[in-house]
């Protein structure tokens, strides 16, 4: 039924069927670098990897046809070095650069440097990244396109101007508390603060602005009303050089912890055909207004009354693009590469866009991260001593990690994406439970227990989703306690049976990640949890 690209007659000189590029450089690491290298292979393109000293032996380096060292592990000395990456592309003869997500993916300066070097940037043009990366500009653009936006300011707030404090407080009052302080340069949740009362606003603005400045070199912040409870729903957009912009489906990314997405699914449960069409239309309108080319995602909040409020546009490949690929039967990364080479949107993609309001099947992605879900999702860098991943019908795993690898503290702690697909949401959930049961991971604590809970939880199964779901439903400490008890029993029984202890055996579950007895005496790491309450938020990617 599906026509393979090679059978489609070429409509133009640079049309479908030709290899878009001979060589492409992947300016990223981890699972997304592996994902892009695989797309290159599928298209017959040679892939060039880049790496830091922490990633010399990483999977993405090994899979690539060529690899260039960027520098020491800190991102600022490796994966964020625009000059080094452009030079790596030049020296290896790469005609295009795919930035993945994170790092330089949404830095217009990077796209510009790539364009100026005569290399193709696989993503929207630098001008579009600039325009949409400025969240304030995006808000104004959406409003002008007739799309409802989250209530808030349209201009940056004057931070560190004591004389302006009363004006700012009045503005916040008009928007309505609680408000969120957000960075105009956006991304990763950095610079974001929730403020419940006027007294906390000035400090939050200063802290948010400082953090935004440190993260993006741009301290501008703005205010937005917090919509709660809300669902986070986003639309996958693709546009080509002919000015065609289509929506190929939406994703529900409501399960978040401190604005970090944990679970994503497509389609969004409970939307009827009309709501879906309305949502996709709004997203396409924003994409057209922005002159979108290549891939982007329009993010919305869905309030309890069924109204969508535009949040922002991400001008890059999303972490969770895989769920849309499975439901729509498309390959977003190869599509991106073809578009970058000047080819029009593929026939498969246009067909998927036509069917997007009546999706077939359901896909769910869980993000396996090196975080402790019993301790407020504290990062748990370390060496992975056991790593067995699931497979079988309807199961896709995207990872860049291998057994024996060290999860470096310098980078994002996403270690694998488990994506399941089935004819219905219930079928997908059953596959998720099955796949999670097959995972074996040791050496570092991961979010596997949390995802097992989600997959078995009746309210998740019923589709009762909200961005507050995790805090309301998940009691990680209690779940851990029960597992620890069983682990102790098992260890004690085995020790007695093997005769490794004489007489009775005593087993204890020791404090994880604890460096020694003195910290345990200081309250079992409670200080860090307290710190996390006020810790930096990470906005969904």
């Amino acid at each position: 039924m599906a026509t393979s690209p090679s059978e489609i007659p070429s409509l133009r000189k640079d049309g479908v069927g030709e290899r878009p590029f001979h060589r492409l450089l992947v300016a990223n690491r981890g699972e997304i670098a592996v994902r892009i290298i695989r797309a290159c292979r599928d298209l017959g393109i040679e892939a060039v990897a880049v790496y830091s000293d922490a990633d010399v032996d990483a999977l993405h380096v090994r899979l690539a046809d060529d690899a260039v060292r960027l520098g020491p592990p800190p991102p600022s000395e490796s994966y964020l070095r625009i000059d080094a990456i452009v030079e790596a592309a030049r020296s290896t003869g790469a005609e295009a650069i795919h930035p993945g997500y994170g790092f330089l993916a949404e830095r217009a300066a990077f796209a510009r440097a790539v364009e100026r070097a005569g290399i193709v940037f696989v993503g929207p043009p630098s001008a579009t990244i600039d325009a949409l990366g400025d969240k304030l500009h995006a808000r104004r653009l959406a409003r002008d396109a007739g799309v409802d936006i989250v209530p808030g300011t349209l201009e940056p707030v004057a931070v560190e101007r004591p004389d302006q404090v009363s004006t700012i407080v009045a503005e916040a009052e008009a928007i309505g508390y609680p408000v969120l302080v957000k960075a105009a340069a956006g991304g990763g949740g950095r610079g974001m603060r929730r403020v419940a009362r006027a007294a906390d606003l000035p400090a939050a603005l200063v802290a948010g602005s400082r953090e935004a400045d440190a993260a993006f070199g741009d301290g501008r912040v703005y205010l937005e009303r917090e919509i709660a409870p809300a669902r986070h729903v986003e639309v996958q957009l693709l546009g080509d050089a002919d000015g065609r912009v289509v929506a190929v489906g939406e994703r529900d990314c409501s399960l978040q912890r401190r604005h970090q997405k944990l679970v994503e699914e497509a389609p969004a449960p409970g939307l009827d055909r009309d709501a879906r069409r309305r949502l996709h239309d709004m997203a396409v309108r924003i994409g057209r207004a922005a002159g979108l080319r290549n891939a982007a995602t329009a993010e919305f909040l869905l309030d309890p009354d069924g109204a969508f409020h535009f949040l922002e546009v991400n001008t890059r490949l999303q972490v969770e693009h895989g769920v849309t690929e499975l439901v729509a039967g498309i390959d977003i990364v190869t599509e991106q590469i073809r578009i970058a080479a000047g080819q029009p949107l593929s026939v498969e993609l246009l067909r998927a866009a036509e069917q997007a309001v009546e999706p077939m099947g359901h896909a769910i992605e869980v993000r396996l991260t090196a975080e402790d879900p019993a301790r407020g999702f504290t990062p748990t860098p370390g060496r992975v001593t056991r790593w067995r991943l699931p497979s079988g019908p309807g199961v896709r795993v995207d990872t860049g990690l291998e057994e024996g690898d060290r999860i470096a503290p310098e980078y994002d702690n996403l270690i694998a994406k488990l994506i399941v697909h089935g004819p219905t949401r219930d079928a997908a959930l059953a596959r998720l439970r099955r796949a999670l049961d097959e995972i074996e991971v040791g050496g570092v604590q991961t979010t596997v227990p949390f995802h097992r809970f989600v997959a078995a939880d009746p309210s998740f199964r019923a589709g009762r989703l909200s961005t507050a779901w995790v805090d309301e439903r998940w009691d990680g400490a209690a779940d851990y306690q029960r597992a620890a008890r069983l682990a102790q029993l098992a260890a004690g029984v085995v020790a007695r049976r093997d005769g490794s202890t004489t007489g009775a055996a005593v087993t204890r579950a020791v404090t994880r990640a604890g460096p020694g007895p003195s910290t345990a005496a200081a309250g079992d790491g409670g200080w860090l949890r307290a710190g996390r309450e006020a810790a930096v938020d990470r906005w969904p990617r």
Binding site: T385, R452, A487, V493, G503, A505, P515, A521, V536, R538
Partner: protein, 208 residues
């Protein structure tokens, strides 16, 4: 916290004499009247936990809580879980202390378990109690539990702090973590400075 009598997963056994509430005692005794049949006693109660394995790759199956007797172990109705036994990652301080350490993974939870003989454990518990009695009201050493870089230090030696007050900001895994005082007290030592790179276990501050 109510569980069926004899449920080995119920941590709330009032008869538990161990001073360390997190410890579990596992004893093998002879079944009543049948000295050739070993019976498993956990925290003073006869129970029926069976462990099949672990095999060469550390895979085991644990069945627990199916009944309350030493016989009929592993019957249906109990909790049956796949368990992974792994060698633990090396810890600071070495392991030549007679304690066996295992990393046991249950349902994705990574539990570091220490196993030692009953008698040795009793001695250790006594020593720990004595140490805690001293430590109570004594200085608290706040140490790093994640590696990273110190962004800023908000206190100096001599400052009085209250529980929850910010002490340091640390950048780890792209995030800024604000570390707060675990208790009220006075800062007697600040062991780190801004921009310093820290490793797990490094002393950060001392509160007295």
């Amino acid at each position: 916290m109510s569980a069926a009598p004899g449920d080995p997963l119920d941590p709330g056994d009032p008869g538990l004499a161990a001073t360390d509430p997190a410890a579990i005692r596992v004893t093998v005794t002879a079944a009543a009247g049948r000295p050739e049949v070993p019976a498993l006693v956990i925290d003073g109660r006869a129970t029926d936990v069976t462990v099949t394995g672990p095999d060469e790759r550390g895979r085991a199956v644990v069945t627990a809580g199916g009944g309350s007797g030493g016989e009929g172990a592993g019957e249906p109705g109990g909790e049956r879980r796949a368990v992974l036994f792994l060698d633990p990652s090396p810890r600071p301080g070495g392991s030549a202390d007679g304690i066996i350490r295992r990393e046991v993974v249950v349902g994705g939870w990574r539990v570091e378990v220490e196993i030692e003989g009953n008698r040795r454990a009793a001695l250790r518990e006594r020593a720990t109690r004595a140490r805690e009695a001293v430590a109570h009201g004594g200085p608290t050493e706040v140490r790093a539990i994640i590696p990273g870089r110190v962004l800023s230090v908000s206190v100096v030696a001599g400052d009085d702090v209250v529980a929850g007050q910010q002490i340091l900001a640390i950048e780890a895994m792209k995030m800024q973590n604000e570390l707060r005082a675990p208790r009220d007290g006075r800062i007697t030592r600040v062991a780190v400075a801004a921009d310093q790179t820290i490793e797990v276990g490094d002393l950060l501050v001392v509160i007295e």
